[in-house]
Symmetry: C2
Subunit: 123 residues, 2 copies
DNA sequence: CTAAATGCAAACTATTTGCAACGAT
DNA sequence: ATCGTTGCAAATAGTTTGCATTTAG
């Protein structure tokens, strides 16, 4: 495993999760790791194919990369765009029951206004 | 309402739903409607903002546009990429209960192998 | 010495936008 | 004559890829 690929994985593992390729790139640089965007994307592709990290698609926004591999869902704040985890334990089961056949995966992204933005908003 | 915008809306309404901008463009052309991609996108933006059609985001694929305005979810086949509707009546309620605050929207996209592709697949 | 991994720049996909020309009132 | 709408082409955002070069075993 190359220095760059390893650095990337470590940055993801030591992060709060949910970082974009761009953010990961910058964090690697901050840690004096010599890396280019091409390598970031290339390795993110490999890492998520291997199953070492999880790619999260957010409609209308760049993909994010998550250290948490266990099945879980996400909420994104309409205002600050911050993402948080939620865990709806039996979502998959429920979807399969509804669809009526085995499912291979699902993306669920819930949009709301997070508590802290809601607090600021009250005028 | 311009000829182009109206044609676009009609094509969507007369379709099975779930068409991409590109597909809509081609269907308009087939009907001898003089239209450009810029106008397709421009009007799709307007129509979905007005609430006349619904924009569906599919991770890793172009957006699709739906004539069905009532809340519902989608399944996409891993093989043939065809999209179908499912209706999980109390999904929104359930999500709000889970998140613990009002939600503004959600995107749910379930991936599976559709019955007809499953049939072909058995060797 | 060889194979794997990198950086750069160009390509690509989906979509948006500036602007001049067009068309309907 | 005016204002909304168009088509074109260029711009944008995010991501991927070809290729020559570098790196590690």
């Amino acid at each position: 495993m190359s220095k760059q690929k390893n650095a990337l994985l470590e940055v993801i593992r030591n992060s709060e999760g949910h970082l974009t390729a761009e953010e990961l790139f910058m964090r690697c640089r901050e840690q004096q790791v010599d890396i280019s965007m091409a390598t970031v994307y290339r390795n993110l592709g490999i890492l998520s194919m291997e199953g070492s990290v999880k790619r999260i698609a957010v409609p209308g926004e760049p993909d994010r990369y998550d250290k948490t591999l266990s099945p879980h869902e996400h909420v994104v704040c309409d205002r600050c765009k911050r993402m948080a985890d939620i865990c709806m334990s039996d979502m998959r089961q429920m979807l399969e029951r509804w669809v009526g056949s085995p499912i291979s995966s699902y993306d669920l992204c819930v949009r709301y206004v997070c508590p802290s933005c809601r607090a600021c908003e009250r005028t």
